[in-house]
Each structure stands twice: as structure tokens, then as C-alpha cells.
């Protein structure tokens, strides 16, 4: 009798569970569709496209095996573009991380009055359209733009900021840092809020000065989140596209051409005539793999460091 009862309850329970499972998947359908159609499937087909000799204009794509990759690894423009992506990242990241941390610390622990207003100001560039900011900056750093006029006031000669390769990269980095520093400031502020106010007071009682409090007490506590912030910063700097496409178009003479602008140009606005979707895909796949690898390496290093810290 008893066994039978528990048998029926378990059947009921199983039915209920199945119903819940079905409902759950019904609820997941829109999200899964949006993922599969516009992210999952494109990731896989990018890999497939990279093996095709295909312009994208016609349907006659020819399977070319690894030919695209063979050509890519001999393409000095591709190496130049990947090199520039890394150059941009390597110069940007230290400035982004330190300036944003300084601002966050200032607004979290040193000044209180007006901090909200300043925070809004430093965050403003983040929410504005990058492609439009790029065009405005093109004028500001242009031949007769504000920067050169300012230099003129101090009796200095105008500089051809965007016309010379060395300066163009510097200008792009300056604008990139200006644009993104607010994001990392917010990340650091979130990290700093996890430091209890008691620690600051204890440090003050122990006679630590501001710098000691920061470097000896606060910094070690926020370091784990700092690792995550650094990885995010590295990856998003490597992805730079909008700003460079609109400000310099990769020029002058490919001096600011990054991986993303290389892919875009090869796929959609080839100056040499026919677009090459297959070849562009192989560049995108290679660069995507580099970024994913950077993420994995970063997380591994972070994991090792945090393990060592707890031991």
C-alpha cells in the first residue's frame, strides 16, 4: 500500500519535473535563438568561410583548404595590422588602468564634495558614439584644429597630427584613453567599495600616510578584481575598430591599421577592387583566436597568482 503511494507520488513528481523542464526551455527559446543565429552559427561559419576562395559577390565559392591562411601568414599588411593592434593595446592599457584607478581612488576615498559631478564628466565620453567622436577628434587634431591653434598661441609650430604615422598612433591612443577611462574608473570604484571603511581608519591610527594606506592596504585587497579589470581592458583594447575607422581609416600609409580595420577593408571596401570574404574571414578567425587565447592566458595567470596569494 505504502509502496504504491510513493510510486504514484514519484510519477507525479517526475511529471511535474518534466513540465518544469519544458517550460524552462520554452523560456530559453528567444535567448537561444538570438545566440545561435547571430553569434553561435556565425562563429562556426567564419571558420568555414576562411577555407573558401570567395569574393562574396557571387555564389561560386571554391574550397581552398588552408590556402587563405598560407597567404595570410605571408601578408605583411596583416602582420602590420596585428602588430598595430598590439601596439595600441600595449600603450593604452597602462594609461587606462592607472588613470582610472587614480580617479576612482580620488572620488572614493579623498574628495567627497562634487565627486558625483566629476564622475559624470569623466564618464561622459564612454556613452557617446565612438564613430562620431572619431570624426570630431579628426577636426580637433586637424591641420587648423583646436590643438594646433593652441600650440600657435604658445608660439609653437602646427603639427600634422593625423598625417604622420608616429603622431597618428599617439593621437589615436590619446583619444582612446580619453574615451574609455570612465569605464575602468567605474570598475575600480566597484572594487574600492568592497574595502571596508574601518581599514582606512585603522591605517590612519597606525600613522600610515595616504600613499602607504593606498599601496600597502587598499591595493592588495583590490588586486584580484584588478586582474579581471586588466583582462577586460586588454581584450577590449585589442578589439578597437570604430575609433580608428572614423579617425584615420587605418592611415596614414597603414600606420594605424589594426586587425579589425584590415578585416573590414578586405571584406567590404577593398581599394584594389573585388572584396575577398574568404580571405577576410581567415584574418578574422586568426585574430579572434589570438584574442580568445589572450583571454585564456590572462585568466590562467590570474588563477596562478591568486592561488599563490592564498597559500
Amino acid at each position: 500500500m505504502k509502496a504504491k503511494a510513493s510510486g504514484t507520488t514519484s510519477v507525479l513528481k517526475r511529471q511535474r519535473l518534466r513540465k518544469i523542464n519544458i517550460w524552462c526551455w520554452v523560456f530559453m527559446i528567444p535567448a537561444v535563438l538570438l545566440y545561435v543565429l547571430f553569434l553561435g552559427y556565425p562563429i562556426l561559419s567564419s571558420v568555414f568561410y576562411s577555407t573558401l576562395d570567395w569574393s562574396g559577390m557571387t555564389s561560386n565559392a571554391v574550397f581552398a583548404g588552408l590556402d587563405n591562411f598560407r597567404e595570410l601568414f605571408g601578408d605583411k599588411y596583416f602582420f602590420n595590422a596585428v602588430g598595430n593592434s598590439f601596439k595600441y593595446m600595449v600603450i593604452c592599457v597602462p594609461f587606462l588602468l592607472t588613470i582610472s584607478l587614480a580617479l576612482a581612488y580620488l572620488f572614493n576615498s579623498i574628495i567627497k564634495k562634487g565627486a558625483a559631478v566629476f564622475r559624470t564628466v569623466f564618464f561622459m565620453p564612454v556613452v557617446t558614439t565612438t564613430s562620431i567622436v572619431g570624426i570630431i577628434m579628426m577636426f580637433i587634431f586637424g591641420g587648423t584644429g583646436s590643438v594646433n591653434q593652441m600650440l600657435g598661441l604658445f608660439g609653437m609650430k602646427p603639427v600634422n597630427w593625423l598625417g604622420s604615422g608616429d603622431y597618428a598612433m599617439i593621437v589615436v591612443v590619446i583619444v582612446g584613453v580619453w574615451k574609455d577611462v570612465g569605464t575602468y574608473m567605474i570598475y575600480w570604484l566597484a572594487a574600492l567599495q568592497s574595502v571596508s571603511q574601518d581599514l582606512y581608519e585603522a591605517a590612519m591610527i597606525d600613522g600610515a600616510n595616504r600613499w602607504q594606506t593606498f599601496s600597502k592596504i587598499v591595493l592588495p585587497i583590490i588586486m584580484p578584481i584588478g586582474g579581471t579589470i586588466a583582462i577586460l581592458c586588454i581584450i577590449s583594447s585589442l578589439k578597437v575598430f570604430d575609433l580608428i575607422q572614423t579617425m584615420t581609416n587605418g592611415g596614414p600609409f597603414f600606420a594605424t591599421d589594426v586587425a579589425a580595420t584590415f578585416v573590414y577593408r578586405t571584406a567590404y571596401s577593398s581599394a584594389t577592387g573585388t572584396p575577398r570574404l574568404g580571405y577576410a574571414s581567415s584574418a578574422a578567425v586568426t585574430f579572434g583566436a589570438i584574442i580568445v587565447a589572450m583571454g585564456i592566458i590572462g585568466n590562467t595567470i590570474k588563477g596562478i597568482l591568486s592561488k599563490r596569494r592564498t597559500v
Partner: protein, 276 residues
């Protein structure tokens, strides 16, 4: 005591100077948009225009098609926000409250694609739109812009829904609410704070999006968004700087206003992203 306040004054002064440099490009843009061409070239550094001319705005809105671009941007942004809000709320609800078969796998797949750059997927996305017959159309752009994993929003929704006490759900079940009704009548309305964050963040991202609309509108200027429209205008017309400045204002001012009025939610969302 006095020494500290002197130090603070120095900090505030330095901050004020940096803050001015920070907003200078926006001030320059707004000021240039009201200037005449001759005034623009004559006194570029002067931030306050001699008189406020609206000719630049009228020219940008009518001749340079910014009226159409503005309408397109609004349509795309609202549609994308609605689609993303609905799909991430539904998914976040079941992820946060239920253990179902395949949940870990699907979340793992979503998380794994977080670092994939858009440039990696944009070529197949466009080819897919072509196959659906939606390339060079607003609907295609809306769908492509809504696509993706939206992991941040899923996390925000799921941790919110997970924090709702079970009693609420039990009470709803006793009242005769089924699975969907419990969600639609009880849970979804409770998630208002998360909704505001999602709406704010997604509006800003969609409004500012560049690469996807650039490619989808390559052969159809009529469906350009503002971000692409200004880029195209610069390509076609290099002389009309004040017109371009006015176009930039039309594109940027609405999103800045939206941000300043809802910044708490945007900032909370960004901060939440790094914590999880």
C-alpha cells in the same frame, strides 16, 4: 586643519582643469554647430558663438538626411531594446530559479563566446541576413543588433530572480497561477530595477553601434543610423564642417541626456558586470 583644506583646493583646481579638457570636444562640437562657416574658420578657439545660427541644424536635418537617420536610429534602438529585454528576462528567470536539463551546458557556451570580437562574426551575420532576404533592411539590422549572448543581462536578471523568496511563488501557485502566469503577473513586474538597467545600457549600446549598421546599410543609405550617417557625410562632403558638427550634436545630445538622467542604472550595471 588649514593645511588639508589648501591641499584640497589644489586638488579641486587641478580636477577642474582636467574636467574642462575632458568635456572640451563636446563644447567645441556644440559651439561649432551654431557658427557660420566664416566664423568657424576665423575664430576656431572661441567657444561662444557670436550669434546662434540654426542653419547648420536645418541643413543637416533636411539636406544631409539626418531627419531620416534620426528616425531610423530611434526605431532600431527601441526595437532592439524590447527584443533584448524580453529574451533576457525570460531566460534569466528560469536560469535564476530552476535547475533544468542542459542549463550548465548552455550557460557555458554563452560564457565561452564572451571574448569573441564582433569582427569575427560580422561577415556570416551579413550573409545570414542575405539568405533571409533581410540584408539592407531595418528589420535585418534590428535582428542582427539584438543577436548575441547578452551574458551581463542574463546574470543581472538571474541573480535578481533568484533572490525573490519562494513564498511569493507558492502564493501565486495557490492562487491558481501557472508557470507562465507566475512569471508574467508576479515576477516580471518585480524586476523593474533590473529592467531599467538593461534598457539604459542596451539603448546606449545600440544607439552607438557602428560596424553592424555600417555593413548592413552599405548599399541602402535610406536606412542608415546616425552613427553611420555622419561617417558617410564626412566621406561625401569634407568642406561643411559646421554642418558635420550639427549632425554630431543631433546624434550625441539625445544619448548624453538619456545617460545623465539614468546614469545610476548604467553605472550600477557596469559595476555589476565586473563583480560577476
Amino acid at each position: 586643519m588649514k593645511k588639508i583644506s589648501v591641499g584640497k583646493i589644489v586638488i579641486y583646481l587641478v580636477l577642474a582643469v582636467i574636467a574642462f579638457i575632458w568635456v572640451y570636444p563636446f563644447l567645441w562640437m556644440v559651439s561649432a554647430s551654431f557658427k557660420t562657416q566664416s566664423e568657424f574658420f576665423g575664430s576656431g578657439l572661441n567657444l561662444i558663438p557670436q550669434a546662434f545660427h540654426f542653419d547648420n541644424f536645418i541643413r543637416a536635418w533636411n539636406n544631409a538626411n539626418f531627419g531620416v537617420y534620426f528616425k531610423n536610429t530611434i526605431i532600431v534602438t527601441i526595437s532592439v531594446v524590447a527584443i533584448v529585454l524580453m529574451s533576457t528576462s525570460l531566460a534569466g528567470y528560469v536560469i535564476g530559479r530552476y535547475a533544468f536539463i542542459g542549463k550548465k551546458v548552455i550557460l557555458g557556451i554563452f560564457m565561452a563566446s564572451i571574448t569573441i570580437p564582433l569582427v569575427f562574426t560580422v561577415i556570416p551575420v551579413y550573409e545570414l541576413l542575405k539568405e533571409l532576404g533581410l540584408e539592407q533592411s531595418l528589420i535585418g539590422l534590428i535582428l542582427a543588433e539584438s543577436g548575441g549572448g547578452h551574458v551581463i543581462f542574463l546574470m543581472l536578471f538571474s541573480s535578481f530572480y533568484a533572490s525573490i523568496p519562494n513564498e511569493m511563488e507558492e502564493a501565486a501557485t495557490i492562487d491558481g497561477c501557472g508557470f507562465f502566469q507566475t512569471y508574467a503577473k508576479i515576477m516580471f513586474p518585480l524586476a523593474k530595477p533590473i529592467m531599467v538597467t538593461v534598457v539604459t545600457m542596451q539603448s546606449i549600446w545600440t544607439w552607438n553601434s557602428f560596424l553592424l549598421p555600417l555593413i548592413v546599410t552599405l548599399n541602402n543609405p535610406e536606412i542608415r543610423t546616425l552613427a553611420v550617417g555622419l561617417y558617410a557625410l564626412r566621406g561625401e562632403n569634407v568642406v561643411d564642417w559646421t554642418g558635420i558638427a550639427a549632425g554630431a550634436c543631433i546624434a550625441i545630445v539625445p544619448i548624453v541626456i538619456l545617460f545623465v538622467s539614468l546614469q545610476k542604472y548604467f553605472v550600477d550595471g557596469i559595476a555589476g558586470a565586473v563583480k560577476s
